[in-house]
């Protein structure tokens, strides 16, 4: 039943994306050229990665506001590492980025799990701490294109079978987490812990530990995105990806992830990210005032939340009707 609802939700979103592309194409036809769509997807890849992590965290009734700061800190760390050891192979750098990001995520997770501090407070704090650490590490300096090694910068841009590696990484993450969320006990535990924590506890699921793993995954994906980001824009500094955490949460909300936990899909998060990615890539070419751009992104979020709310209400009514019929 709920599975059916979610599927239609994703179909709805796919329809909205196609409609959006149509509207954009009517004003700027070159936007839907395959080459440009590849660019748009590639540009959205870091957002997709972060949205998957954020979705898992939100499923467990938490929120991770530190993702962008984690991305920036990991990005700075790998950039400094690359400057110090230009010979370090890229796969090692990526492995280190994922590990480092996961450790930062674990820090959030431990605070939420063991100290039971509200996640919004924990991650608001770590967000500032991570940014502060970047400043301490970098002493406010930037790491620039000419300081980074060519291999470091080339990896996400390398084109494989028509798509840049960065896009393949996003697709790979989507595939991996579709399996994890649907076919592993941990994946199902995320849904259970958020859907009904008490029931989950009785079913033998440690809710705190499940939340810890959610933050760890979110951190690992942020770390991976951190390397991709620094490599793609060839610069690392304190303010990297400032405010990006809100875009990530917005992508999840648009993707139909219930902010109260327990409901959401990897595919939905990806579509939500793509929706925002298309808007942010289209706005520069359709020539809309920058003040309107913010309003348009904001409206998309509110419409999505409104749709979510109405969907949830319907479900509630049905349950009540059944209960009435049963008595």
């Amino acid at each position: 039943m709920s599975k059916q609802g979610l599927m239609s939700r994703e179909l709805l979103l796919t329809g909205a994306i196609i409609l959006l592309l149509g509207v954009i194409a009517s004003r700027f036809p070159a936007f839907i050229a395959p080459g440009n769509l590849v660019n748009v997807f590639n540009d959205t890849a870091p957002l997709i990665l972060l949205a998957i992590g954020q979705m898992i965290v939100i499923l467990t009734r938490c929120i991770d506001l530190s993702v962008a700061a984690n991305l920036a800190l990991t990005g700075m760390v790998v950039a400094m590492l690359n400057v110090a050891m230009p010979g370090l192979p890229v796969p090692v750098i990526i492995a280190l980025a994922i590990t480092f990001g996961a450790v930062l995520g674990m820090f959030n997770g431990v605070l939420v799990w063991k100290l039971a501090i509200p996640p919004i407070v924990v991650t608001l704090g770590t967000m500032t701490i991570f940014r502060g650490i970047i400043f301490l590490l970098s002493e406010g300096r930037w790491i620039n294109a000419h300081q980074l090694s060519d291999a470091f910068k080339a990896f996400p841009r390398t084109v494989l079978l028509g798509l840049p590696v960065m896009s393949w990484i996003a697709l790979g993450a989507v595939a991996l987490f579709v399996v994890v969320m649907n076919r592993t006990s941990l994946g199902r535990a995320f849904y259970a812990a958020g859907g009904n924590p008490h029931a989950a506890t009785y079913a033998g699921i440690n809710v705190g530990r499940t939340q810890f793993w959610a933050f760890t995954i979110s951190g690992a994906l942020s770390g991976l995105a951190g390397y991709l980001w620094v490599s793609r824009f060839a610069v690392a500094f304190v303010d990297l990806a400032r405010g990006f955490e809100l875009t990530v949460v917005a992508a999840c909300v648009i993707g139909g992830v219930a902010i109260m936990g327990g409901s959401g899909t990897v595919l939905g998060a990806m579509l939500g990210a793509l929706f925002l990615g298309i808007i942010s890539n289209a706005l520069p070419v359709v020539n809309i005032s920058p003040f309107w751009q913010l309003a348009i992104s904001g409206s998309a979020i509110i419409i999505a939340v409104a749709l979510n709310a109405s969907a949830n209400r319907k479900k509630g009514r049905i349950i009540l009707k059944r209960a009435e019929q049963a008595t």
């Binding site: 406010g140 610069v235 520069p284 070419v285």
Partner: protein, 333 residues
């Protein structure tokens, strides 16, 4: 304030350094103290180099290069007090706080010390004159000229700014638009805003390339924007077709100049700034010039500066950096 001043950027470096000895010196030498935000910052070391150059040119001038070890107003006040005690002839300060250092500087002026501010100014009552590296009009003119220099046939240019509400950038863009008629053939087709975010600036640059296939230059008067545009142009394989220019730091722009995406860019030159500040301090301290509105003070090889109603002056056009001098400056700031 999204455009970082070099001094505050470099301030993060904050290295511990020892004050230069001010040991026995010939009393007939004029002593000019160059007080910087903090010691050990490349930008200010370069300014001190310029000050030494001016001192050598003037003769009989001794430069005392000093400042606190961290960028605090308290540290600068201590330094100023110690300079008053030493009885220096002039203080030229780049202030960590425009107001906090005023009382100390007023004490210095009461004791007959010439006080000027440069780079990062002091409130009017705390100095005799203030030397700005450049002015809105000069910057506006420079950013257009940088693009026009490489477009002999004319063509389309676009501006990639910071946020739509940033005061500095908007003033510079307005000044740039005002001088456009002086550059026949140069057409400003769009002004877009990257919000000083790498990803948004990158997308806006991509958007400009898509919307205006004949675009020849992207002018970004912001450090984040110019780097993002340079990267977007490189990734699109349009190096040579589109010249990315504007305001940037040599240390950050070295890669773009090397790749050819940026033919030239501008920012003030710290050596010239230190040189000019020293020249002005010397002229005021020797009573060769007075600091009053409208006064013109000669500044050696830099020409001269004219004081406005707030006794502030703009040094010159921002200095242009290109492949010929980037290596010299990229390690400085």
């Amino acid at each position: 304030m999204k455009r970082r001043t070099f001094s505050s950027l470099a301030a993060g470096l904050g290295l511990a350094a020892s004050l230069m000895g001010t040991s026995a010196m010939a009393q007939d030498n004029m002593r000019i103290a160059l007080v910087v935000k903090a010691l050990g910052i490349g930008f200010f070391e370069a300014a001190a180099e310029g000050a030494q150059e001016a001192a050598a040119e003037l003769g009989n001038v001794e430069i005392i290069y000093t400042g606190p070890t961290t960028t605090t107003a308290e540290g600068q006040i201590e330094v100023i007090n110690s300079l008053i005690a030493q009885g220096v002839d002039a203080i030229a300060i780049s202030a960590n706080d425009p107001d906090a250092v005023v009382p100390a500087l007023q004490r210095a002026m009461q004791r007959g010390i010439t006080v000027i501010s440069w780079d990062s100014g002091v409130a009017e009552e705390g100095r005799m004159m203030n030397l700005n590296p450049s002015s809105t009009e000069l910057i506006g003119n420079t950013i257009i000229r940088l693009a026009a220099d490489h477009m002999p046939e004319g063509g389309q240019v676009a501006i990639l700014s910071a946020t739509a509400t940033s005061t500095n950038q908007n003033a510079w863009i307005a000044a740039a638009e005002a001088v456009l008629p002086d550059f026949p053939g140069i057409e400003l087709v769009a002004t877009v805003y990257g919000d000083d975010l790498s990803d948004k600036s990158y997308r806006e640059a991509q958007g400009l390339m898509a919307s205006f296939p004949d675009l020849q230059a992207i002018i970004a008067p912001t450090t984040v924007g110019i780097l993002a545009a340079c990267q977007a142009v490189s990734d699109a394989g349009k190096i040579g077709e589109i010249n990315v220019t504007g305001l940037g730091l040599p240390s950050e722009m070295a890669g773009c100049v090397e790749s050819g995406a940026t033919k030239s860019f501008a920012i003030w030159n710290p050596i010239d700034l230190g040189y000019t500040a020293t020249m002005i301090a010397h002229a005021l301290a020797t009573r060769a010039a007075t600091a009053e509105p409208g006064a013109e003070i000669p500044t050696g090889r830099m020409g001269s500066v004219t004081l406005d109603d707030t006794t502030s002056a703009a040094m010159s056009d921002p200095f242009t950096y290109d492949a010929s001098n980037i290596d010299q400056f990229k390690d400085i700031f």
